[in-house]
Symmetry: C2
Subunit: 349 residues, 2 copies
């Protein structure tokens, strides 16, 4: 299996985004976060997105240069208009600033409107947990709808992901979940491969639960089900309303269908445990949760109870040692861009 | 069916808690929140709790008088030790203070350790939404475990509720959900009535999914399943870790089994939309979400798509007009306490 050094993939992707016109630290930041997603195994939301990002820079749908507009600054509460800049760069930048502000104010919140797509939420979390801070990221795309409200047939929401990074005394807990059972990215991949969801995670146009992702791509279209599905989907429905209200309501984005438009309203929050009971006390409590989960006897067919992020961090560790094997097709779709821009393909190992 | 005026039930319950020794505004605040829960139809977490609260005051397990200890005050981030005072009163008080602080700082967070039980999270939400603010409440009981981590057999968490109140231009969205599919309160009621859950919301000691609540009360004991159940319970597992980390980690509470101990670690956060894109912009976006959900065609067997809190607010409206019919048995269990304290029973209408 073809493997790459992570650093080589980051350099390669940085060169592509720089050649496409991104200024300053944007190419390197976007490359680093996309490769981080692949390292963690979230391969629908890593370098697989790069060709489409490059295309959007070309059409002007993603702005390549400049800064977000600061619409308000209440010190612990910031509002930015991202002006269609890369959502990956904006999110990383917002986290860094919120981490600084949280040191002074205990909690810092950044609300962002009019961003481009933000890729894999899990890939940002260690930026904050490495500083001993807790991070929350939530995001929605106000232009698109694929997830139905509980009891409804017509989709209203995007999968509305929600991620939380939690420091412990050892590896952080890295939670990244959508408010729907599965994502558009996973549905697209399974559909392209002629495969099915492992459960009835979608419904057809008439509301019949199904494991067939085709219902999202063929008319009359169905929709993704909120977390809990037909049994207790009021839970995922509630999560979606929270994610959309915090990401769109606070920032001033608002649902409005725009076919083909790819954007994000973003909510970012950082907690500094030192402003509460202290960092050592915080990680003592969270490490106790980790120990209790690890000690819970596994059910039949389960090797051991894992913490969210545990498998992803193990994957990353392995890929850093032995090289990263990209999901099939990803590198082939980047090759034409490398040729266009005269960028050398990354070395294989 | 016997009905009561809400005001009479509040006066009655206020008199009971005052007679039991609660000082200041505690009796009236606790009575108001408990009756609010019954008005909204959350009748496992309303006046049904009052007899046990009165018992805990009697044993000293709930402290009846005094103030929380302020352990730190970073203006937008507060830490309190509740010193085993009523969690209902503490939560209402923390929300009121956070609403004031959020006006100045955009977002205000109150973290509480060593509280007594906090009852129904949904019943507090309009305290903030009536002021045009967004409220988040999360709570866990570090002494008790009934919910298993995904893939595990031994319980680690409490149901770990999480509630969010979201203002719109009309009725607020009132979300109140547990990280587990169902709650201990519901399991207890169904078990007492010999009834079953509507779905496979629990697992027996060997990990078999079941709709029988008895497995929580008979040895060898089973556990409640996280939201998503055996199919996608990593979602509820993630929610539980977030709720426990924010409520216990920030406050300095920590998991430690204490049989019979009834407590809560609490996380409260208020957002002032005016510090972001503004109140009118916020409610414009959230009202659009409400309109889109209402417009989603209902599935077969569903009358209409409802927003979280819609049914509860309609129930409350009806109960305020026609009187409140308490769930069977609630008033009978309060009668001995009324006799003990020489408090007149509430009039029926």
């Amino acid at each position: 299996m073809t493997r790459y050094r992570a650093a080589d993939l980051i350099d390669f992707t940085t060169a592509l985004f720089a050649a496409a016109g991104m200024d300053g630290d944007k190419p390197a930041t976007v490359a680093e976060i996309l490769v981080e997603a692949d390292l963690m195994g979230h391969d629908t939301h890593g370098l697989a997105l790069a060709p489409n990002y490059l295309k959007e820079i070309g059409t002007g749908a993603m702005r390549a240069t400049g800064e977000p507009e600061v619409l308000s600054d209440h010190k612990a509460a910031l509002l930015w208009d991202a002006r269609r800049l890369s959502g990956v760069w904006i999110t990383a930048k917002a986290i860094d600033i919120a981490c600084e502000r949280a040191r002074d104010y205990g909690v810092a919140t950044v609300s962002v409107r009019e961003s481009h797509h933000i890729a894999c939420l899990a890939a940002y979390l260690t930026r904050a947990t490495n500083r001993g801070q807790v991070v929350v990221i939530a995001s929605s795309d106000p232009a698109v709808a694929s997830v139905a409200p509980f009891g409804g047939l017509d989709p209203v929401f995007t999968p509305d992901p929600f991620a939380v990074g939690i420091p412990t005394t050892r590896d952080p807990i890295l939670i990244d979940m959508s408010s729907s059972i599965t994502t558009n990215g996973m549905a697209g991949r399974l559909n392209a491969n002629g495969e099915h969801f492992p459960g009835k995670w979608a419904q057809d146009h008439a509301g019949n639960a199904t494991n067939d992702p085709r219902i999202l791509f063929e008319e009359p279209k169905g929709s993704l089900l909120p977390t809990g599905g037909h049994d207790h989907g009021h839970k995922g429905y509630g999560m979606a309303l929270v994610v959309e209200s915090l990401s769109q309501g606070l920032s001033g984005d608002k649902r409005a269908p725009q076919p083909g438009y790819w954007g994000a309203a973003i909510f970012i929050q950082i907690f500094e445990p030192e402003a509460f009971a202290g960092r050592a006390v915080f990680t003592d409590a969270t490490s106790e949760l980790v120990s209790l989960c690890h000690a819970s006897r596994p059910a039949v067919g389960v090797e051991k109870v894992r913490l969210p992020g545990e498998r992803a961090l193990a994957r990353k560790h392995d890929a850093m040692r032995h090289g990263l094997a990209l999901y099939p097709g990803i590198i082939d779709k980047l090759a034409p861009w490398a040729e266009t821009f005269g960028v050398a393909m990354p070395a294989t190992i």
